[in-house]
């Protein structure tokens, strides 16, 4: 004769009970934290408020895409900072992808010098902290650049202490004038992000190409394809399936790393937010805005990469 099993030990009920208890626990902890925050904030007179966003910021920004001046409100300052962040992220994504792909493919080169250069680059760059590299590039390399007539110049590109000048440049009274002038801070940050992320992307590309079975290379060769065509038509399309998910991680990391801009004086979102926080005393609101913005940027990157991932996956019939 079997003893009657209590109702809560039914295999449909028990997992639900455990889950509900766990959820209750999490909710309790969260509500404890929130009530703690509210009690302490109201004791300190700092309950959340957003009215300050509309008041004049009073500080200037070094470079903006929007027409922003010191008399404009805080939200416009923060938006200018966000656009500065997006500008450097977008440029760095393109640059790092190009550099990473080139270096990743170079590690398969038959030229031993090229192959070992690629290895050295990857090992040196990915083993040093990004902040150190950024400070090195900016304070040692870029601020050490000459200015005026002795600046580095190639046709259409002038790199001087006053910034990166693109397009036909001319020296007027010892100052470079060109159609496009990028500040030295932007250039240094972009360079550091491209070099750093490029090393990681190179590894992702290398791993992706290695994941393609060697039989594919051999099959391409037996069809009479040249190495370049085998790579472009046979191997890379298959490698992309492995590369794209890995790239997504690197892109997200790059977007987050761009907040190190504050170390080299580039007016990105975090830099503007820091000044805003200091002047308004609205620490929690400002931090929420910054966190939310980075979250949105990274979710957007992920969405794009997931779309790309669906395109390159094998569609089996």
């Amino acid at each position: 004769m079997r003893a009657r099993i209590p109702w809560w030990r039914h295999r449909r009920v028990l997992p639900w009970l455990i889950q509900a208890a766990a959820a209750l626990l999490v909710l309790l902890v969260i509500s404890a934290l929130i009530s703690n925050l509210v009690v302490n904030l109201s004791a300190a007179g700092l309950l959340l408020s957003w009215r300050w966003l509309g008041t004049p910021a009073g500080f200037d920004l070094g470079e903006t895409l929007l027409p922003y001046g010191a008399g404009d409100p805080y939200w416009l300052a923060l938006l200018s900072g966000l656009l500065n962040s997006l500008r450097v992220i977008a440029a760095a994504l393109v640059g790092a992808t190009a550099l990473g792909t080139a270096v990743g493919l170079a590690s398969f080169s038959r030229n031993a010098l090229l192959r070992s250069l690629a290895r050295v680059y990857v090992e040196v760059i990915r083993n040093c902290p990004l902040l150190m590299q950024l400070l090195f590039w900016y304070f040692v390399v870029f601020l050490g650049l000459p200015d005026g007539a002795s600046a580095l110049h190639l046709p259409g590109v002038v790199l001087a202490k006053s910034g990166l000048h693109l397009g036909p440049a001319a020296l007027v009274d010892g100052v470079w004038r060109a159609p496009i002038r990028l500040s030295l801070e932007f250039t240094a940050l972009l360079w550091a992000l491209v070099v750093y992320s490029g090393a990681f992307i190179a590894e992702v590309v290398r791993g992706g190409v290695q994941a393609v079975p060697p039989g594919q290379w051999e099959a391409a060769r037996s069809l009479g394809l040249r190495p370049r065509d085998s790579l472009a038509r046979i191997v890379l399309p298959q490698a992309l399936r492995v590369i794209v998910p890995g790239l997504n991680n690197q892109y997200i990391a790059l977007a987050k790393n761009s907040s190190l801009a504050v170390a080299v004086g580039y007016g990105d979102l975090y830099s503007v937010a820091e000044t805003t926080l200091n002047q308004t005393g609205r620490a929690i609101e400002v931090v929420l805005i910054v966190l939310g913005s980075y979250l949105l940027i990274d979710l957007a990157i992920s969405a794009l990469m997931n779309g790309l991932n669906r395109l390159v996956q094998l569609h089996e019939r």
Binding site: R9, L14, I18, A21, L24, L25, L28, V29, S31, A32, S35, N36, V39, N40, A43, A44, G45, L46, G58, F59, D60, L61, G62, E63, G69, A70, G71, F139, L143, G144, D147, K161, S183, L184, E185, V262, A263, V264, G265, G267, S271, E274, T275, L277, N278, Q279, T280, G281, A283
Partner: protein, 351 residues
């Protein structure tokens, strides 16, 4: 299986316990008692400004702001060395203070409306310990002799400071176009300036003079005569704890009053002995805690004034030793003289 449920129960209980005990009574009440029970003062300083707060070759903190912390520790705890210094950058300082990470800020912070107001940073300021103004440092022989020569130039500034706002306001008034370059730390700001990234660097004049003294060639840089703002630098504590703010205020006033009365670190013992022997010196006896209960009213020891002066000396001594004309910083006292000598230092009466 029942055992699993029994496990959850203590977890729930502890979660409730967290929610009830972490509430406490606000982040800041009873700071004086907290400092006493910790037996140490947590003082937020700049840490990188020669003359005000910096680490010397032997690894100890020195400077005007640092010695004020020592005086407060002496008055509150009876031992001027019971201080732990926390280095804070301008962007961190108010958050560190509000969260209770430090007991007070003694780090060249300008007293202003928005910093004191409830809707702003909401901090309580102690008396001004240094009357300063914003200045502009430029390389000698750069052809920049006044603010208007800065049109079209880049100017380095520390982000999150009142200097940043004043710079924007002063140059906007004069319709001078410029590019601000903002850095997070003073070291980065001055490195960028020395590397020639900007034509000028702006900060409080005392700070610029102090930093200049540590440049490779200090004579190669000049301070413009334009005074861009009023910068009254004062220690600060949280607004919610008025008892603690009162104690800080009167310890600092005591240092100023001591200078007015001619009481120094060297003669404090003889002055106490004299006052003890002479019942007619009523004011002095009260000030030194021989009569009356001033210390008790503030929640401090009766002789808190004597302790503070023994630890750091009077305000004049503090000034001369750290930033005065005999020190490497070489600043004139200017406005930082007692009121009866033409300055702005004025301690309300101890009565």
């Amino acid at each position: 299986m029942p055992r699993k449920q029994a496990c959850l129960l203590p977890l729930l209980v502890s979660a409730l316990a967290i929610s009830s005990c972490s509430r406490g009574d606000g982040p800041s009440s009873g700071r004086l008692a907290m400092v006493r029970s910790r037996d140490q003062l947590l003082c937020g300083v700049n840490g990188k400004l020669p003359g005000f707060s910096f680490v010397d070759r032997t690894g100890t903190y020195r400077g005007l702001d640092v010695e004020i912390c020592h005086a407060i520790a002496a008055a509150v705890l009876g031992d001027g060395s019971k201080v732990e210094f926390r280095e804070l950058n301008p962007a961190e300082r108010f958050t560190a203070l509000a969260s209770g990470e430090v007991d007070l800020l003694s780090r060249n912070t300008s007293y202003s409306l928005s910093r004191e107001a409830k809707g702003g940073n909401n901090v309580a300021f102690a008396p001004v310990v240094f009357y300063d103004g914003q200045g502009m440092l430029v390389p000698r022989g750069s052809g920049i002799n006044s603010l208007s020569d800065l049109n079209g130039q880049s100017i380095c500034v520390l982000s999150g400071t009142t200097s940043e706002l004043n710079l924007a306001n002063r140059l906007r008034e004069r319709s001078i176009r410029y590019t601000p370059l903002k850095y997070q730390t003073a070291d980065q700001t001055f490195t960028a300036y020395l590397q020639g990234r900007c034509a000028a660097v702006t900060s409080d004049r005392s700070g610029l003079a102090a930093k200049r003294s540590s440049f490779p060639v200090p004579e190669a840089h000049v301070l413009l005569t334009d005074q861009m703002s009023k910068e009254p630098l004062a220690p600060a504590s949280v607004k919610a704890d008025t008892a603690w703010a009162d104690a800080l205020r009167w310890i600092i006033y005591a240092l100023m009053q001591a200078e007015e009365l001619g009481i120094t670190q060297a003669n404090i013992d003889t002055r106490v002995a004299e006052a003890r022997a002479d019942p007619n010196q009523a004011d002095l006896r009260r000030f030194l805690g021989i009569d009356g209960d001033f210390g008790q009213q503030l929640g401090l020891a009766p002789d808190f004034v004597v302790r503070a002066i023994k630890a750091s000396g009077n305000y004049g001594e503090l000034f001369e030793r750290n930033v005065g004309s005999a020190s490497p910083i070489g600043l004139e006292r200017g406005l930082n003289k007692p009121w009866n000598q033409g300055g702005l230092l004025y301690a309300p009466p101890f009565r």
